[in-house]
Symmetry: C2
Subunit: 308 residues, 2 copies
């Protein structure tokens, strides 16, 4: 079983949907990723930063799951990263109401010694400068580096972002961002261009429309599970990434065939994430529920092919 290092935000979220509204809950990419990956029983650590206002019980949710938090810097007198957003009836669209970077604006990440040889490195959505810094701190190239990013970094730190992309094995990105990154409307063409930037696997997230996995000339598709109700989509993308890297760190197999399974597990965990606010549902999840849902994914996609 390989070690998994996760870099990303540890934050407060306040979420409003047509159904309900939260107080300040546990949020941030690294939290979602770690909680999902922990379902695979891997050794995982987070590199991040919070303020003194960050509640110990939130951190305990991580340590209870054997997640090493020695790489989470706690800034005395500092305030944690804060995000609030609002969803409308069409849950595919959300408005960001407020973003406070707070301690994140001055973040100098430090990789814990024990994780400088991590087999899998998950670079959650953050400033590409920080992502590059982490890559430099590793003792040796991890077996797999996965990058998540967003349009903000394309608009503001293009050259740094391109440099990070050239150094990673897998990128997860949504469809609109893939189009923006490449200037190609066709996702097939966009994925080819991103692979030409140096990435082996391109994972394009289409929300409720599933995930496309591109590798060389091949493509694999994992649908999202059709659900009766989406309660809160916040964190679904990060939970997807967490399920993916958790499965990969556990299996230590980076073949196309195994990465197909990884995106199915990612979609599996993401399908739970949207059932409650934030990471609530994934925090209470059992291995049996994940296995049962895996068979629902199988039923959803697998068929006995007949040649007419």
């Amino acid at each position: 079983m390989g070690k998994l290092l996760i870099v990303g935000t540890v934050a407060f979220d306040v979420i409003e949907t047509p159904f309900a509204k939260t107080d300040k809950i546990m949020g941030g990419a690294a939290n979602y990723i770690a909680v999902a990956a922990a379902q695979f029983g891997v050794n995982a650590a987070i590199v991040s930063i919070v303020g003194e206002d960050y509640p110990q019980p939130f951190l305990n949710l991580l340590t209870d799951r054997n997640i090493d938090i020695s790489g989470i810097e706690i800034v005395k007198g500092g305030k944690s990263f804060f995000w609030s957003g609002k969803y409308h009836n069409d849950m595919n669209v959300r408005d960001t109401l407020e973003t406070q970077l707070n301690v994140l604006s001055d973040f100098k990440p430090v990789v814990p010694k024990a994780y400088k040889d991590a087999k899998v490195l998950m670079l959650g959505n953050l400033h590409p400068k920080i992502q590059l810094d982490i890559l430099k701190q590793m003792n040796k190239k991890p077996n797999l580096v996965v990058l998540d990013t967003m349009d903000y970094w394309m608009n503001n730190t293009w050259e740094l972002l391109v440099e990070v992309i050239s150094k990673v094995d897998v990128i997860t990105i949504n469809d609109q961002e893939a189009r923006q990154l490449t200037g190609e409307y066709s996702l097939v063409k966009a994925a080819q261009k991103i692979m030409n930037m140096g990435v082996k696997y391109v994972v394009i997230k289409k929300g409720e429309h599933g995930v496309l996995l591109f590798h060389q000339d091949s493509v694999f598709f994992a649908p999202a599970l059709p659900l009766e109700e989406v309660f809160d989509p916040t964190g679904a993308g990060d939970t997807f990434a967490g399920g993916m890297v958790g499965f990969l760190a556990k299996t230590d197999d980076y073949s196309f065939e195994n990465i197909k399974n990884a995106v199915i597990y990612g979609s599996n965990l993401a399908s739970f994430c949207v059932e409650k606010f934030g990471a609530e549902r994934v925090l209470e999840l059992s291995k049996e529920e994940i296995r049962e849902r895996l068979f629902r994914f199988k039923e959803l996609t697998q068929f006995e092919m007949k040649i007419a």
Copy 2:
């Protein structure tokens, strides 16, 4: 091999895309359905109506494929149904520029004697009154009745449409129309409500995002093939239906497992349809191309499941 009866429009289309514009080409639901179904070598007939202006070469494209056109009424001095539309850069959205019903406004369909015992009946998108009339003309209930419809009939002929729905086995409908028909945003809930209206299989078409097939408590998903370029989406939905009913008429097996294959074949043929204007690409298609693409669908969706 079962007989397939197809009811729908036989028309002129004029299509404009960001890339090019057509003259008056062969269009209409029945044409697309029949040309796709003909790939399976089934005995098929069309019930429809055209004006005297409809070109013999267009009809020859059908008879060349052994499609019985004795049920296509040709109105002396009449003008054929005409539709023109324009696509923008996002090919998911189109504007209808002009619709002329012409001879269609006075259509009294007559099922050819030899097809009153058809095993599969495909009711293409038309006035529900005409669809009901066809059902009444059948000698016995077909093994499978498939209905396609659209929002226009929901808005204008609600009660007749509900009556047709109660008499069919399969409905094909797009995601927005499924929501409008049921008042449910969730497609899972929408499909359940439609099944409660008397339908055994609900096929929800999501365009480039694929197709959901609902049956009892089960759901199967067929993705659209990711393409480098979509040249013209006109007729893709009808071509999908044609591939589906062609395969089902050929195999005469209406189990859930076989209908999964039918929606894969429908998606297969639709993926060709969008490569050229109108039905052009499907008209020139070979069995080998369809088989090769079937293996691409397999590669796209099938995986060796690993339990983590």
